[in-house]
Point group: C2
Chain length 315, copies 2
């Protein structure tokens, strides 16, 4: 598959009108409000396994970027893809398949990008820039938490980490968990909807504990997290015994792409009402107070911080 | 140098206000008109030499993207950088140096991006997304040329190609030519200024002939180019003998990052007046007509098309 053939295939995917059919040198985006921009790069052997299905690599590069948009309350507008052509035509075709599925499912269109040839044998890296429309209330930062705020998290934590271990052959478990690693579902609707109610928001990509600790530090506050409240899925509880070890593993595993946000107790009802609309789990897992540092508890007893709170060097 | 140290160094560079100090997960761009977005990736061994100075790699990733913005008449607003951390701290420091110099000189600020660790030994690739403000007249496409339009090019053609050959040790020549390869100067002011007068515009990155042929094809027109008119610099003419061979070499070498645009003869005066303002060369090198295909002439005699019009597989 040549670059021209790859480009021709890209043109059959959902394109943004401003993409100019991928026939020009740049995309044009008509403005009608503020935009949110984010870029994530995924490197083979660092952010995904060399053996991961190409469809999943494509899906994840879209999903992880849209998760960053959702965390800013932004509605996806378009993406620009940086793609190193793979020597195997089938790999490229399967990447395109997963990329198209992600664009369709996550309701975003292709704006542009760059397809490059890459020397054989090199570790591949895939980059995506995502553009979203900022919410009318303004894009929440990770530093806006206030004393007394509750720390909320969407969905379930730890499934993707277990799924990754299954994909690596380290553990045995159902496909539903592997799928949570291979095909994360960013909270593209919930993020914009909840944005007006939050003081701070970010996504959980490196691990609940490390990401929450970053939020507390950026906000200049102390944060206590109740491990007992960390929401675990039935799928995970079916293959792992509940307890402090599992909860620490889940809260430090990463790749969840759930939303982490803070809001005052007065916003509880509005947040729960929004979550009920699409039967999403949304859970209070902690509380902010004046001071600094992260403290953990489980069943009312203090738990020492683990040596590793999540992925520290993923960039 | 860790990712945290690299990020801390990035924070000392000129940042866009919407970058939120590179402390949040995404950038926010207030809109006041349409934006132009472009992304270019540069791969070691494909788009630059492994031995190129890190400062130049950094400069070029900014310059080639701003050249695409200029070709759409867009004024630079901000860039997002995808950077694989280099195992040598000095390499990172020198990249940062060149990157900062490019941001300053090319009058653009950093909006965000992603710094990733990369497995050792892999060919590195650097990505940049550039955002610009679209011109009020609308961003010209590469497909807008009309019959009777003249084909114009800015500056000189072929210096960068000669500079690359010197950098590779294939030829001997002055630093001024090498610098045209290592530190291209995109036409960031001329592009927006000339945009209201053009029918079509793009930049010369893969070679004058191949890029002009793409413009003619996209516009559904025939194009004749006079090799004798291709503007060559005094520096180039000092080391190479003028003639058809040099002119073909210059017009197929690439890496010029000059602007290629079309306009009706009635726009001649306005274009020349704008060029005189900053003493820039701007030259008519061809003419469009109904039909299709590229034809070449030199000193009034037809010249057969060379087998290679420029870089075809650079993406």
């Amino acid at each position: 598959m040549t670059e021209a053939e790859f480009l021709a295939a890209l043109r059959t995917l959902p394109l943004h009108p401003g993409a100019r059919g991928l026939l020009d040198d740049a995309a044009v985006l008509e403005a009608d409000g503020a935009f949110v921009l984010t870029h994530d790069t995924m490197v083979e052997g660092v952010h995904f396994l060399a053996a991961d299905p190409p469809e999943s690599v494509a899906w994840r590069i879209v999903a992880v970027n849209l998760s960053d948009l959702a965390a800013k309350g932004a509605t996806p507008v378009g993406v620009l893809l940086s793609y190193p052509l793979h020597p195997e035509a089938e790999w490229n075709a399967r990447f395109l398949q997963g990329f198209g599925e992600a664009l369709e499912a996550l309701e975003v269109t292709l704006l542009g990008g760059d397809t490059v040839s890459a020397p054989g044998g090199a570790a591949r890296s895939y980059g995506l820039t995502a553009v979203g429309r900022a919410p009318a209330c303004g894009a929440p930062s990770r530093s806006g938490a206030r004393p007394g705020d509750r720390l909320w998290v969407t969905g379930h934590i730890g499934d993707a980490g277990e799924g990754l271990a299954i994909a690596k052959g380290e553990r045995i478990g159902p496909d539903s968990l592997t799928r949570r690693y291979l095909r994360p579902l960013p909270r593209i609707r919930f993020g914009p909807d909840v944005a007006p109610h939050v003081h701070a928001m970010m996504d959980v990509s490196d691990g609940l504990l490390i990401d929450a600790a970053r939020m507390a530090k950026a906000s200049g506050l102390a944060l206590s997290i109740d491990l007992g409240a960390v929401p675990l899925s039935r799928d995970l509880l079916a293959v792992r015994e509940d307890g402090r070890d599992l909860r620490l593993a889940a809260a430090t595993a990463g790749d969840d792409y759930e939303l982490l946000f803070t809001a005052p107790p007065a916003a509880d009802a509005a947040i729960r009402a929004r979550a009920e609309r699409d039967e999403r789990a949304v859970t209070v897992v902690g509380e902010f107070a004046a001071g600094e540092g992260l403290t953990l508890a489980h069943d009312g007893a203090p738990v020492p911080l683990p040596p590793r709170l999540g992925f520290e060097h993923r960039g």
